[in-house]
Chain length 386, copies 4
């Protein structure tokens, strides 16, 4: 079996999720390429070392350029904050590496376009990791849509609701700084929903947006703390420079009318990534907090016996599932990353594309920007579509 | 006990719902005023007669003006299509009658304003029947908000989804003609949601809208058929002149960011009037298809034990419920009409206002119009607020 | 239209529910017989008078024998406590009246058998009111079973859970006295479940039971209070002489294995009358707290797309529903009583049987008694079946 | 860090689940003992070799006695069918190994007792793997019960429903042979429920059971196929010698009344391991198909605002969760095995007991046997309790 060496940039939350997935993929799936966890890169040496030991990365490095420049590395896995995505990805592609990039794509459409152009020229596999595409229940929805079971689509209703910013004492982490995060709920949450909408419904032609910021100043974070969306507060206050919530109404090229509602102030919702798709022949609905289930209404069921049914997507017929456990034994959050690794390596092996890739990422960035611009200018934005 | 004579205009679906409610109100509630079902008015004599006999209306009349002009009538109950609301309501108020008006208010903001002005001058009780305000579970949400249990409100998410227009062979009933219905999903469905949002969250200051029409021509209806949102088709085709779906994003005066999504093309949803309200201290959610339940998340519950709870609003502490059945014995759609009659008669008896009234109706009409204008002009509309 | 005069015995909770249903039936349904609310009977004159006035009963009477003896009365509606059922029913049938009897049937199998024999001899219509049979969602389950959609039935899982006795200070009302109530959860709750099981699955051949009593002494009730399952406490304590919970495992004649779990100590359940039926071709599940819904799993759905679907039983195809409101507009607890009155009058008019009748009641009583005897003797009881 | 060598017996479904867990445990949790995947044992060499390579077992062996006899092995992980449990476990304990034993315990109470005695004499850690005890939502229920939040427990309602035997063409796998499986739904499914009931509610004193067999003959399996609960059919038919469903009613020592309902013929249920616990202060409910959630009803919530709440057990306060992902990111089936390995190694390290152990297994076996004996003899069985 062919082996490929991976260099990972970043060792926080996403570094962990990716490392686990690289390890689990070959244990549960038949792969043509064996992933080798070669080198892990981060700026803080001590935690980096612990990270590498725990996950079995053979080497460590504090300068990502030295990783990208190494000839023996085949794949660059970018699990760093988004303000670094553009620079690392472009360098990696130019160095002839396949690139596995964690979402969101980049800070601006311009960055994304340059990344895409570099990727297309490189001929390498480029992948933007919106992991939810590879959830079996979402894949089931996709397959049903492709088979015509939903018919003509009338509506997309997407929401991604969390509540971790509700407490005004929550510190001003990097996710709340425009310079580092690009935007707030839009980049973090609506990016996921847009990817799913494009995957399941199609391209978007018109965007209207409205945003809100509920807490404008927050305690500065304790610089010594490093936690996912958390950490303790330090001294002083700082200005929040991103939106707390972003709502959009859109028209799809196929005529469907859609909505996107992202917020970090939806008290009681932890990771409530919900979508509903209504079509002429049926409807589907998904909620990430119950990610093994798909709700499906078949309009062709006998009259008087129709209803939304809860499909537990753990049957052998469901994508990826035979590699895990028997029916009724659910999988969790990290399994979608494993699926992403499997498909990414498969694409390299077969010399094929994988989606979402950097071209998808450009479209996504255009929609995200259009939503924010619409909110700012108080008018509907038309997107160019082919 | 004081008795008051009612004249009802209209004997279709709403005529039935109102008649039943006038009869049930005194049987289940202690009233200061006894409602007398005096006279029923409609244009088609035969069905009108059957209607009156069934529900115990003592007299019938085919010209609503003659009902309004009668000295012995105290209350005019307007259950006729909305294009008649303005004319009848103004005449009834000028004739010194209390007016119970079925929603939606009117065809235009101008009509609504004239109705409101006439009502204010008349000194009579004017009521616009958005029955869902009087659902015990909705009332529970209201009480909790008023008691501060939800705290500062961040979001309103409203949807009113039905699917009765999905079949392109469904005939061109009056609900699909702009002249008779004013608008489509906006007037019919979003009007309800707007009333609930104003009731529960507050006034709206900015509106952005987008609409869609999925079927532009439909079979002309069989003129002999008369059914709720139905009837068989006749010959020929006609143009649909209203929108099939209307989505809005709004900003409330209190800063909350909200959404409204109304559609008659949401396959699988029959009467799915959903709202979610997210606040700093808690959140609530309601779905009319399970109208005896309120979902409530209490952010002050012990950490690790928080969750959305399903409150079955059939306890004696819930408004209206002690007059019905013991805990766990649910009520249905028509009970909300009974509650409306009870409160309307109570307002007359006590010389008080009741809400929503014609002033509320004007605000609602302004928002509905703003949504449609925003969709047409592709820009956000600012509403004047006091 | 033929008119029939009704005499009702009892004016508490069930008197109210029945009176309302007699009034609503002719307003919403086409009947061949017009029910006339002639005379109401109870022992306490003052509340009886109020009751009669409220519901339009023309006359009142404090001795039920005088009601039964009147020649002009066609129907005796027995809404009195169960310890009176036998005597009143037998007398009414002997006097040539049709009998509408509220559940449970009687205090003993012997009583029930005598009631049945008298009924069969009388040639009159006899009906035992297990109202839940006439819930549209339950009726849908029945129709599906009869059409073979569930196939061979493997399991019945029934539970009827309430929590109104959890508080040890709840007074010793008549429902807790064996002399008046016959038994506790068994007579009150399992009687409903057994009726549904016999209706939907079939006859029972083997019964195993176990019961529990959690609070053995309670405050004596305040004699002046009269409320449904409530009232305040008086002085002193008394012994609870019925079981608080009764669980049974049964075998049906058709081989299905079933369970019944009734309790008044299931904290959080108000009127949780649940059943699940599992068959070779499909399964159904119903919960009274969401009585407009039926859960249905169709084993013939396409593999990978199967799931329990929530059918909202408010379509025109569902029994009784066209007489009420449009799809998605739910009905409540009391509507089932209206359906019972409609079917009861229909049976009289057509000279047909109606079910459940007193023959059903005898079978039900046998099962209830077998369950209690099994619990007492610690052994499985075989029931005679034809 | 101390290292301990593991020998695993069995490489089917459970061999996979255990291997994965041994690998994941040290990556996600801080352990005092490093588990070394030393040797894997099975009877068929080829699949065993593949298994060992995939999961990193260093050596393979076809005779389990040679594994048990090796001095360098510290832990024996028994993932073989239950008819081998007794012999292997006793030998392993006598050889001074710690034993991690997959459920169910053994074929008979006698076997279980001997295993327990050997374990107690050995002084080694003995663990019976009922993985569901280590699901964070179940652990939350346990913690709440221990803290008194549920109060006095009145009821346990347990069900474990699957449907994989519904098809009469499903072959006669070893699970359907009494000699190999001990019993059917009782050993396989009720064993899990009994373990949870003992963990959460307490000891059981009285048992009543009833069982059913719906298909008595099945096609003999294709001997070449080896799949979890599946495989294709070979030639000829064979007799099913275990029950398809087993229902029990029980009394707990603390007075609670409980039920157990296990079936492999519950069409539509895949892995529906449900329990409900009702107590004086609150109630909880759990369903394995939504294993990240716990339903909780707090009877001390404000009157009128009570309801079952859905707790998503993914907060840092929930056991094991901080080692995985942030709130709202759910875990899956195999994670509970990881937790079991973590706690098992922790018990060895600290020289403590872990539960369920072989003593728990004896109690469980006694209840399982009592249920089957009760069903056979048609009488209630009293269990000896201390």
């Amino acid at each position: 079996m062919k082996r490929m060496r991976i260099g990972i940039i970043g060792h926080q939350f996403m570094g962990r999720a990716h490392s686990n997935a690289w390890l689990q993929a070959p244990r549960f799936f038949d792969l043509d390429i064996e992933p080798v966890l070669q080198i892990a890169c981060g700026r803080r040496l001590l935690p980096l070392k612990e990270f590498a030991e725990n996950w079995g990365w053979k080497e460590i490095e504090t300068d990502w350029r030295r990783v990208v420049d190494r000839d023996d590395i085949d794949i660059i896995d970018i699990a760093a904050p988004q303000y670094l995505h553009h620079e690392i990805a472009v360098a990696a592609l130019k160095a002839g590496k396949h690139v596995f990039l964690e979402k969101p794509m980049a800070m601006t459409v311009e960055q994304a376009q340059e990344m895409e152009a570099t990727a297309l020229i490189s001929g390498k596999v480029h992948y933007l990791n919106h992991n939810y595409r590879r959830c079996p229940a979402v894949r089931l929805a996709k397959n049903m849509i492709d088979e015509g079971k939903i018919g003509r689509i009338f509506h997309w209703r997407g929401a991604y609701l969390q509540d971790w910013l509700t407490d005004p004492e929550f510190p001003l982490t990097w996710q709340l700084e425009k310079e580092k995060a690009g935007s707030g709920a839009q980049a973090d949450l609506n990016s996921h929903s847009i990817d799913l909408a494009r995957y399941l419904v199609g391209e978007i032609s018109q965007v209207t947006g409205m945003t809100a910021q509920f807490v404008s100043e927050r305690p500065l974070p304790n610089k010594n703390a490093a936690a996912f969306k958390g950490g303790s507060s330090g001294e002083g206050m700082g200005k929040v420079t991103v939106e707390d919530a972003s709502f959009m109404t859109v028209r799809f090229v196929n005529g469907a009318l859609g909505s996107f509602e992202a917020s970090r102030f939806a008290v009681g919702r932890k990771n409530y990534n919900l979508f509903e798709i209504y079509g002429s022949k049926g409807s589907v609905s998904f909620n990430l907090e119950r990610m093994n289930e798909l709700q499906y209404y078949n309009n062709d069921d006998q009259y008087g016996e129709k209803g939304f049914r809860t499909i537990l997507a753990t049957d052998p017929s469901h994508d990826y599932i035979t590699n895990w456990w028997p029916p009724g034994h659910i999988i969790g959050y990290e399994h979608e990353f494993v699926h992403a690794m499997v498909d990414f390596l498969g694409a390299i092996s077969k010399g094929q594309e994988i989606h979402p890739n950097f071209t998808d990422g450009v479209r996504e960035m255009e929609i995200l920007e259009a939503g924010l611009r619409s909110a700012e200018e108080g008018r509907m934005i038309e997107l160019e579509t082919l």
